[in-house]
């Protein structure tokens, strides 16, 4: 009996018919011809349209709501109060009332007739200024505080000290303890947590600042005392948002009094039914969720959100008729999620030969009312002696939400910028400095070494790099680099796999394709395993009536769906082999499925066509469920990645031009090469936008967003991205790791690489992103510049 790894393991490179090849994505034709239907496109019979009354104040209490005039307006079918009198609103744009009417005009007219009285409360939206004179918090630790410490690899002594000093705000359940154990939290820490007193938080002060306990690792004092060079700088990036082109929203309808059908723009088809069930107090089995295509998620569409729940509620009030509520663009930019800002004052201690010895950082940032945790720093390059402190700022900017690779882009920006500045102070090429310290980036030092070398060749680093600020003339050119990492282990997934006697193959999975090529990858795995072209396999996803699969987040989809599909396909194929082996005078384990045939490995001419083989099934299809996790090691976790950028800066106007950007990325075994490369190109382009153009601009005095539109919340255009080069790592050392998620890693490095290239070009650091002309001018000419704090 072959062991599981042999049975299920990925085929060797010379045995792959489809895996790793460049195939065009299967939903391409639907998308380019406008036939792909997204939630925003769907019209259900009798559908009503919902419009929302939103709070204009950044912080307020709802005093009263009067819907009497609105109810009488023509075409109005139902009105639902989302947040009633007494509710406290924490960001401008939050939903108060939803109106469902026969068309959008009628709904909007009625929404305008709703009268809401607010009591404005003090608001706070300033996260740029470094918090000063803030005492360390003595509040009991929340789960998030703990999470942050674990994420930052805080030493056990530090965690224990913090727990004993501050207590916990929550009780540690046995499930939590088990989860911590599974995640390799030490016994000592778990015991301390279980024994810790549960405390009430002190009454909230008026201060938006919450300073976390200082974290110390090794001996930073000595490192800085003995340093031969100390580099200092300020770095950071503001709150940005996802700006999905298809805004958030859904269509909800009640097929009877306690059965809900929802068409929702989501990256979590199997997960949202449970959320509906909880919000609406109906059994999860009564919730049917469907979605064929989604116009962007980027981490913001895991939940049904407030608006998903109230769409269902207003539908019920309208007699169960379908109601569609899609967020308007301004609301989408205001309330559909913030990527937290992160700013830091950083000092790096080094020896003259470039050995990095010490790290000190004071950081601050916000994700909204909940504050914002410290990003992982120092990032990837784990400088041994560290002192870190973080102050979370509670603001009314909007709700925090996961944005691709949460906290990594920020950590990478701050760390790689500080390292580049240290290189400049050491008069070293930052590539040399990085390579000299690359062992600090264990366990992937070898990967980074290889990737940095390839990137350097692709961008001609050694030929073109120069010391900072060189070159005469107005236009200055520079190079910058960054390395990054991510986990990306495949999530739980179930794949229903059927081989019919007709030869038809059918796959069903409750997963979703955000545009990353999930459909194509599943078909490639199935086709490769069965020796069939992908157009002979029917794949159905996007419905919770299919076996559950994880939400597309954390770059966990490819590992999950590939491995569940692989196991299902192997099992189904092996059952087919068992049926036909006799007819080929062979044992089942001697057979292979190649090129549309089932044949004997050692005697390939002894074969039968796929169709003939399936005909032997008689009347019974083969039906299996493949799972992840499951037998055999098919996936793993942990990738590297290197990014290098080449920019030119017009030093009179402060305009940055992208000349070229290179990303060298590993992600284990690549299932679908074309779509994988596209992921990396896309991540680089998103990185350019976040580095040069994007920010959520808040008005201090009203607390409102000043740029809730695409004039001034700006994305990169086709002319702004320069030459882009992607190199995927494949072959030995990579393929054997199985597929690892790619959605996030390449999004991490670009901000840092571009920021460093600008610093190299103009000779000074532009501390805060986005690197707009005003910030470059300010950096070059502190007197003539402006926006000194931004």
């Amino acid at each position: 009996m072959a062991d599981d790894n042999t049975r299920y393991g990925w085929p060797a490179a010379d045995e792959r018919s489809l895996i790793g090849k460049r195939l065009s994505r299967v939903d391409g034709p639907d998308k380019v011809s406008g036939r792909a239907k997204y939630t925003y496109d769907v019209h259900r019979p009798g559908m009503l349209y919902g419009k929302v009354v939103r709070c204009p104040h950044a912080h307020a209490k709802v005093v009263s709501i009067d819907i009497s005039a609105a109810e009488k307006m023509p075409g109005v079918k139902a009105i639902h109060i989302v947040q009633d009198a007494g509710a406290e609103i924490h960001w401008a744009g939050d939903d108060i009332v939803v109106v469902a009417a026969v068309d959008e005009g009628a709904a909007a007219d009625a929404a305008r007739a709703v009268k809401v009285e607010y009591q404005p409360l003090p608001h706070f939206v300033d996260d740029f200024a470094q918090p000063k004179d803030v005492a360390e918090s003595t509040d009991p630790l929340t789960q998030r505080d703990l999470f942050t410490m674990f994420n930052n690899d805080a030493p056990d002594e530090q965690v224990i000290a913090a727990v004993q000093k501050r207590g916990l705000a929550f009780k540690v359940t046995p499930e939590m303890a088990q989860r911590m154990k599974d995640n390799e939290v030490s016994e000592n820490v778990i015991k301390t947590l279980q024994a810790a007193p549960v405390k009430q938080a002190a009454p909230a002060t008026n201060s938006p600042y919450k300073k976390e306990s200082e974290s110390v690792k090794g001996d930073p004092d000595t490192a800085f005392k003995e340093a031969e060079v100390v580099s200092e700088g300020v770095y950071g990036c503001p709150v940005i948002t996802h700006c999905c082109l298809e805004s958030h929203g859904s269509i909800a309808e009640w097929t009877d009094s306690d059965h809900l059908f929802s068409h929702i723009s989501t990256q979590n088809v199997s997960g949202v039914p449970g959320q509906y069930a909880q919000a609406l107090k109906i059994p999860e089995a009564n919730v049917h969720v469907h979605q064929d295509h989604i116009g962007g998620g980027f981490g913001s569409k895991f939940g049904i959100d407030r608006w998903g729940a109230y769409t269902a509620q207003v539908s019920k009030k309208a007699g169960g008729k379908p109601v569609r509520v899609m967020l308007e663009r301004d609301a989408e930019l205001e309330v559909a999620g913030c990527r937290p800002s992160a700013f830091a004052k950083v000092r790096i201690a080094a020896k003259k030969d470039g050995t990095l010895t010490g790290w000190q950082s004071d950081s601050w940032g916000t994700g909204g009312p909940g504050g914002g945790g410290a990003p992982p720093m120092p990032y990837v390059v784990i400088i041994p002696n560290q002192r870190k402190q973080h102050t979370a700022i509670a603001t009314n900017i909007g709700p925090a939400r996961a944005w691709r690779a949460p906290n990594h882009p920020q950590g990478c920006l701050i760390t790689m910028s500080a390292i580049e500045d240290a290189a400049a102070k050491l008069n070293m090429d930052p590539l040399d400095l990085m390579l000299k310290n690359i062992d600090l980036a264990a366990p992937r030092a070898a990967v980074y070494r290889e990737e940095l070398q390839i990137a350097a060749d692709l961008i001609a680093w050694k030929q073109n790099w120069h010391q900072r600020g060189q070159g005469s003339g107005v236009n200055k050119r520079g190079l910058g680099l960054a390395i990054h990492t991510w986990g990306g282990r495949g999530h739980d997934s179930n794949c229903s796999f059927t081989i019919h006697p007709t030869g038809a193959v059918e796959i069903k999975m409750g997963t979703q394709d955000l545009g990353v090529g999930t459909r194509t990858a599943i078909l490639i795995v199935a086709g490769d395993t069965l020796g069939l072209p992908i157009n002979q396999i029917d794949l159905k996803i996007g419905d919770n009536q299919y076996p559950a699969s994880g939400g597309s987040g954390g770059s966990t989809t490819i590992g999950g769906v590939s491995s569940s599909t692989r196991r299902a396909a192997v099992d189904a194929r092996d059952q087919l082999f068992a049926k036909v082996a006799g007819a080929l005078n062979a044992k089942p384990e001697e057979l292979e499925a190649v090129g549309g045939n089932i044949r004997v490995k050692s005697a390939p001419s002894c074969s039968m066509s796929w169709k003939d083989a399936c005909a032997r099934l008689g009347t019974q299809p083969i039906q299996v469920i493949g799972k992840n996790p499951g037998p055999g090691d098919l996936i793993s976790s942990g990738v590297g990645g290197a990014v290098m950028a080449d920019v030119s800066v017009d030093t009179e106007t402060g305009i940055v031009k992208m000349n070229k950007m290179v990303c060298v990325q590993d992600c284990g075994l690549i299932i679908s090469m074309k779509t994988a490369e596209s992921q990396v190109y896309g991540a680089m382009i998103m990185g350019i936008a976040t580095t040069l153009y994007e920010e959520k601009i808040m008005d201090r005095n009203t607390g409102q967003m000043l740029n809730p539109n695409m004039d001034f919340y700006r994305l990169a255009g086709i002319g702004d991205v320069g030459e882009l080069v992607v190199h995927m790592m494949t072959g030995k050392g990579y393929d054997e790791r199985g597929p690892i998620g790619l959605g996030e890693p390449p999004t991490v490095g670009p901000m840092a690489a571009i920021g460093n290239a600008v610093a190299n070009a103009i000779g000074v650091r532009v501390p805060f992103l986005p690197i707009t002309p005003d910030r470059v001018v300010a950096a070059l000419n502190p007197q003539g510049g402006s926006n000194a704090t931004v």
Partner: protein, 218 residues
């Protein structure tokens, strides 16, 4: 209390009827309420001059009026309020949902359609204004089993990810290649500068546009 004189209704309903001639429920009195004008305040002071001008100019709306659009060679009819944009008419009346609503302010290109062969933001064109023009939507260029060369080039070069911006880009590319059959990269940067992609498919798009330019009949 002043009020606007009723136009002679086309379907001979009584003059004082609260219903408009098309029965949508937005009567003149409702209209004044909706638009925030108190019933006591006249819309314009020169009522008689206005009435004369109105009769000559032919005032339509605010309730629904018949609108006839020529889309992909077909005549499509609907009863629409004047405030309905071409984009919303295409999507909600005729289920031509290729053009997308993203910014709804003429700043992102996802709603691009062709008006007499020229690319326009359909979110910023009134449906009532789009009559007597040839409208081409992405659906009119090709279908999944018979793609236009531009659409095929987008597929071949993986110039789409989530796909929400894709129809707008395909249509904008059609108009662009019609006027720049042999484009340089520089021209592409400007020619497609009115469309944005969040997922970041520009690398594939540049290749797609060059491939489509080479294909005859693009």
């Amino acid at each position: 209390m002043d009020d606007l004189p009723d136009k002679p209704a086309k379907d001979n309903k009584p003059k004082e009827s609260k219903e408009t001639s098309s029965g949508t429920g937005v009567s003149r009195r409702d209209f004044l309420k909706i638009s925030g004008v108190g019933a006591a305040v006249p819309l314009v002071s020169h009522v008689s001059a206005l009435a004369l001008a109105e009769d000559q100019a032919g005032i339509q709306g605010p309730g629904k009026v018949p609108v006839s659009l020529t889309v992909n060679g077909k005549k499509l009819n609907a009863q629409l309020e004047p405030r309905v944009t071409l984009l919303d008419a295409l999507r909600d009346q005729f289920d031509l949902t290729g053009a997308k609503r993203v910014c709804d302010r003429g700043t992102c290109g996802a709603c691009t359609v062709l008006l007499d062969g020229k690319a326009v933001y359909s979110c910023s064109v009134l449906a009532i204004d789009a009559q007597n023009h040839e409208i081409t939507t992405v659906e009119g260029l090709g279908e999944p089993v018979r793609l236009h060369p531009i659409q095929q080039a987008f597929v071949d070069n993986d110039a789409q990810q989530c796909g929400f911006c894709t129809p707008g880009f395909v249509v904008a590319t059609k108009a662009f290649l019609d006027s720049h059959p042999n484009p340089t990269l520089e021209q592409i940067k400007h020619g497609l500068g009115g469309n944005f992609c969040r997922c970041g498919t520009y690398a594939g798009m540049r290749a797609a546009v060059m491939q489509a330019a080479k294909t005859k009949g693009a």
